[in-house]
């Protein structure tokens, strides 16, 4: 079997036993990429030569020694492009490594390439990329989800073993769910954001997309920890996750938030989630009905706060110092106007304008400050719920992957794709999405497990137990 189909954990064992060499993994991945990338378009850039060179000199004794990993195109890796799938960063080469990238390098991994995304991580379908569409490996007429759609499609399509993504409102978990892989959004502050091009600084978090929960834990163990370059990282000492895997959920209190089970939701999704809940119950967990009463406000709060932060974060793209610069500008103001008009796509402009508006004098109290207050209430919802349970179990996405083009003209409908994931970003909690079933038309369905803040160990143990008791993660998309 092609090594492209293996998990990181397995490949590491085989590397250590000298059965295979990292160059064999790359060879198989490149064969697979040559066959599938044309359809999927998961990558914006591939490091073929440098990956092969790195494979020859990789320190195989390191935790990720010789393991190729793909990066979402908003993570700085020295010397590589970092386009954020935007025309405005055309030709830009990262002059430094993100902390997460440098940790991957230090752990011996090989940078394979850069994955497609919605421009500046703004979107839920990867259709907002200025560098072309990415297709869902399970059905190439459908979206892979977003914004880390390239990362999810690459992992699910077996053209990457694992990829890093970023999650601001569901951008790791929703594409993981729609592509049938494992996506972890760690607790805010768990992984350094230094070198991740910011969309909404108080919500952004880097995380892994992998085939299995074990691989997710492996990557988290490498990436987690305080970074003196990121003031918002947590100070707790480094941890190794999922070192014990007894596969038991005995005694676990699993909360089912009633706001996440709505009348009229996709019936196949609902029944898959209910079956997952039943499995937990059958295996010794207790199901608890809980409420997160402020859930209905989450999307509104999110689109105020995220856009407000984005309006400032994206102000630096002005054509003065780097990236695209409009030609023939009359003066500085004209340079700003032209560069930004030409460089940003419609959704990015929409959000910059919205964010500028909600911070404007006369409106900031009604929008920005009010949203901050409601965010505090949402956070309290979670704190309260976690006094009654150890984990929350919900759908990741209200429905499976939808057809390409279906929602590009309807931003509000597109925003609803993140209805079950956004609250965790606002509250700062960690959450995972893993496959829990397939629709009749063979589209993956994702299960979301949300933990208390810094409760990744609990999340990973429960997710691992569920995963190993089912065959969903082993299913392959049609080739």
């Amino acid at each position: 079997m092609s090594l492209a189909y293996e998990t990181i954990a397995t490949l590491r064992r085989r590397i250590l036993s000298k059965e295979i060499h990292p160059r064999d993994i790359l060879k198989d991945l490149f064969t697979q990429i040559d066959a599938r990338e044309k359809t999927l378009h998961a990558y914006t850039y591939l490091n073929r030569e440098s990956a092969l060179a790195d494979a020859e000199k990789a320190d195989l004794s390191l935790p990720l020694g010789g393991i190729p990993i793909a990066l979402k195109d908003n993570l700085n890796a020295l010397g590589d492009p970092c386009t954020c799938a935007s025309k405005i960063l055309e030709g830009y080469k990262a002059p430094y490594d993100a902390t997460a990238v440098s940790l991957l390098r230090q752990a011996g991994s090989i940078l394979l390439g850069r994955t497609n995304m919605d421009e500046f991580a703004m979107g839920s379908s990867t259709e907002n990329s200025a560098l072309g569409l990415t297709r869902n490996p399970w059905d190439s007429t459908r979206i892979p989800g977003g914004s880390s759609g390239g990362s999810a499609a690459a992992v699910a399509g077996r053209i990457a073993l694992a990829a890093l993504g970023s999650d601001t409102g569901g951008s790791i978990r929703q594409p993981a769910a729609l592509c049938g892989c494992v996506g972890l959004k760690p607790t805010y502050g768990r992984i350094s954001r230094y070198g991740l091009v910011a969309f909404a600084s108080s919500l952004d978090q880097i995380g892994p997309l992998t085939r299995t929960v074990e691989d997710s834990a492996l990557l988290l163990s490498v990436l987690a920890g305080h970074d003196p370059r990121d003031n918002t990282t947590d100070l707790r000492p480094p941890e190794k996750f999922l070192t014990q895997k007894n596969g038991s959920v005995q005694g676990l209190r699993v909360g089912l938030p009633k706001e996440y089970f709505l009348p009229g939701m996709d019936s196949e999704t609902e029944s898959a989630i209910r079956s997952a809940a039943d499995w937990f119950k059958k295996n010794g967990a207790t199901l608890v009905d809980v409420s997160l009463p402020h859930t209905p406000t989450a999307i509104a709060v999110y689109y105020i706060l995220a856009t407000a932060e984005a309006s400032a974060n994206l102000a630096r793209f002005d054509g003065v110092r780097y990236g695209r610069r409009a030609t023939d500008a009359r003066d500085v103001l004209d340079l700003y106007h032209r560069t930004r008009s030409e460089g940003f796509g419609a959704e990015v402009k929409r959000r910059i304008i919205l964010g500028t508006f909600v911070l404007s004098q006369g409106y900031a109290d009604a929008y920005y400050r009010q949203a901050q207050k409601v965010r505090a209430l949402l956070r309290q919802d979670f704190e309260k719920a976690f006094t009654q349970c150890d984990l929350l179990l919900t759908p990741t996405s209200p429905e499976p992957a939808f057809p390409l083009g279906e929602r590009t003209q309807d931003p509000l409908k597109m925003y609803l794709a993140d209805v079950f994931t956004i609250s965790t970003n606002l509250a700062g909690n960690g959450a995972i999405s893993l496959p829990c079933g397939f629709t009749k038309s063979n589209l993956p369905i994702g299960l979301q497990l949300i933990g208390p803040r810094f409760g990744e160990e609990t999340i990973l143990r429960a997710a691992h137990a569920f995963e190993q008791a089912h065959e969903f993660f082993q299913r392959l998309p049609p080739s």
Partner: protein, 486 residues
């Protein structure tokens, strides 16, 4: 120059101060000027995508120290905010500053009467002893520096992201002289705390001025005008003098004052419209999500308190009290901590401490010494003053000793010996000189006895000449008087 009695000016200052830190405000780049353009930069201070700020604790400590020195209320929790506007010298197109929760609020700057312009130090305005209230002190990052050439502009990013402290006064100031003293008095405090070199001419302290005029009995403020491009304290004073006169003249003609920013042109000696403020800028401040709130009560405040220096006002009071110096001398000494330390050492053991102050501040200072490196030990001045006080030498001799001290530094006692200057205080020796003077100047003796008491000076002069200036003049005076009235 002076404000016509009907009108008064209302002035508020915003002072930006560059802090003496090793590194920039939010990254580890060197905080230093004058090096090759854009040589102290990194992804953070260049605002590259993905970079994040981390606050410089020393800059926070220096700001808290300034707050302590100026009697501010210090925030237990302070926050950084983003101030949004586009400008090429600002890499992120937002400036990290503080808005709702600055590090320091309130406080005041006492105006030092001797830091008013020289020619008005004797006026009631200078002697009023006012203290100017502060609104707040906050910390922010500086922007880069633009250079404009014939066909293009360039930006030097070395200054981008360096720590900048902003001190905002209440609209308490009423005259250009007060503004002048405010800046000088504030500078003394900043120097005392080693917060900044605070030299306006080097851009280490920069000042924007808000000024309006109103009829003297009116409570409401007039329309305020902001003045920019003020590069020295005297420039601030001149600009204000001009602008106040301009506004009063306009008001007297019944013209409305435009709410605008005006640029001071030092050469023209006038202010000119820069931009009108009809479209007030909306900076869309919001808390910077990249930075945690700053807890000052977790060690920062304590560290700042440990560095609290003796404040200028306290130091001046002590100098007056302990050394008997004048208020003016106390102000001069207070303004130069190295000189002050030198003086204190000089005066420590001296019998006449005030005389030591005179020697140091008049004679010694006029030679433009560097008190830190001079070979003239401070103790020498104490000794010199003592030699006069105990009658070993007279003041004319002391001048000679001082000159020799400057030329060939040595202990004044040595010099007195070396030059053979010791004063003659022996009564019989002096008596002999006096007898000789009386015998040789019968005319003067006659005049004196006839009531022209000034005539005694000729006799004294004779004695001094005969004794080669060594006679103790006070004793000579006594002896002559006794002999003449006998």
């Amino acid at each position: 120059m002076s404000t016509p009695a009907k009108w008064e000016a209302v002035i508020g200052l915003e002072v930006h101060v560059q802090l003496l830190t090793q590194t920039k405000m939010f990254c580890g780049c060197t905080n230093h000027y004058g090096d090759a353009p854009t040589s102290h930069v990194c992804p953070v201070c260049l605002g590259l995508p993905g970079s994040l700020p981390v606050p410089n604790e020393e800059a926070i400590r220096l700001t808290l120290l300034t707050g302590l020195m100026l009697g501010c209320t210090l925030a237990p929790v302070a926050r950084f905010d983003r101030k949004n506007y586009f400008y090429p010298d600002m890499p992120k197109n937002y400036q990290i500053s503080q808005y709702d929760d600055p590090l320091c609020a309130g406080g005041q700057v006492p105006l030092d009467p001797f830091l008013f312009p020289k020619e008005i130090q004797d006026t009631a305005e200078a002697k009023a002893g006012r203290a100017i209230r502060l609104t707040r002190i906050h910390l922010e990052e500086d922007v880069a520096k633009s250079f404009h050439f014939e066909d293009r502009s360039g930006i030097d990013f070395n200054r981008a992201g360096t720590p900048l402290m902003e001190i905002v006064s209440e609209a308490d100031l009423r005259t250009p002289g007060e503004a002048f003293s405010f800046l000088g008095s504030l500078r003394q405090v900043l120097l005392a705390g080693h917060v900044s070199h605070a030299d306006m001419e080097k851009g280490q302290m920069r000042c924007d001025v808000n000024v309006s005029v109103r009829p003297i009995s009116q409570k409401e403020f007039g329309t305020k005008v902001e003045l920019k491009n003020l590069n020295s304290t005297s420039g601030v004073r001149r600009a204000l003098t001009y602008e106040i006169a301009r506004q009063i003249a306009a008001c007297e003609k019944g013209e409305a004052i435009a709410h605008e920013t005006r640029r001071w042109d030092d050469e023209a000696g006038a202010t000119f419209t820069m931009r009108t403020k009809e479209k007030a800028h909306d900076y869309r401040y919001f808390p910077d999500p990249d930075l945690l709130p700053v807890r000052t009560d977790q060690g920062l405040l304590e560290a700042a308190r440990a560095r609290l220096p003796e404040l200028p006002t306290v130091l001046q009071a002590r100098l007056i009290q302990a050394f008997g110096v004048t208020a003016y001398q106390a102000s001069v000494l207070g303004a130069d901590r190295v000189l002050c330390a030198y003086f204190e050492k000089a005066a420590a053991q001296a019998k006449s401490k005030a005389t030591v102050a005179n020697w140091i501040l008049n004679d010694f200072l006029s030679t433009q010494p560097d008190p830190a490196t001079t070979p003239i030990l401070p103790e020498f001045f104490g000794e010199l003053a003592d030699l006069v006080a105990d009658g070993t030498i007279n003041s004319a001799q002391a001048k000679k000793v001082f000159a020799e001290l400057m030329a060939n530094p040595a202990s004044p006692r040595e010099i007195v010996k070396r030059l053979g200057l010791a004063q003659i205080s022996d009564a019989s020796a002096l008596g002999a000189y006096c007898d000789e003077a009386i015998a040789a100047n019968p005319r003067s003796v006659e005049d004196y006895r006839a009531g022209k008491t000034n005539a005694i000076n000729a006799l004294k002069g004779f004695v001094m000449k005969k004794s080669q200036g060594k006679a103790n003049p006070l004793q000579v005076d006594e002896i002559l008087k006794a002999k003449l009235s006998a």
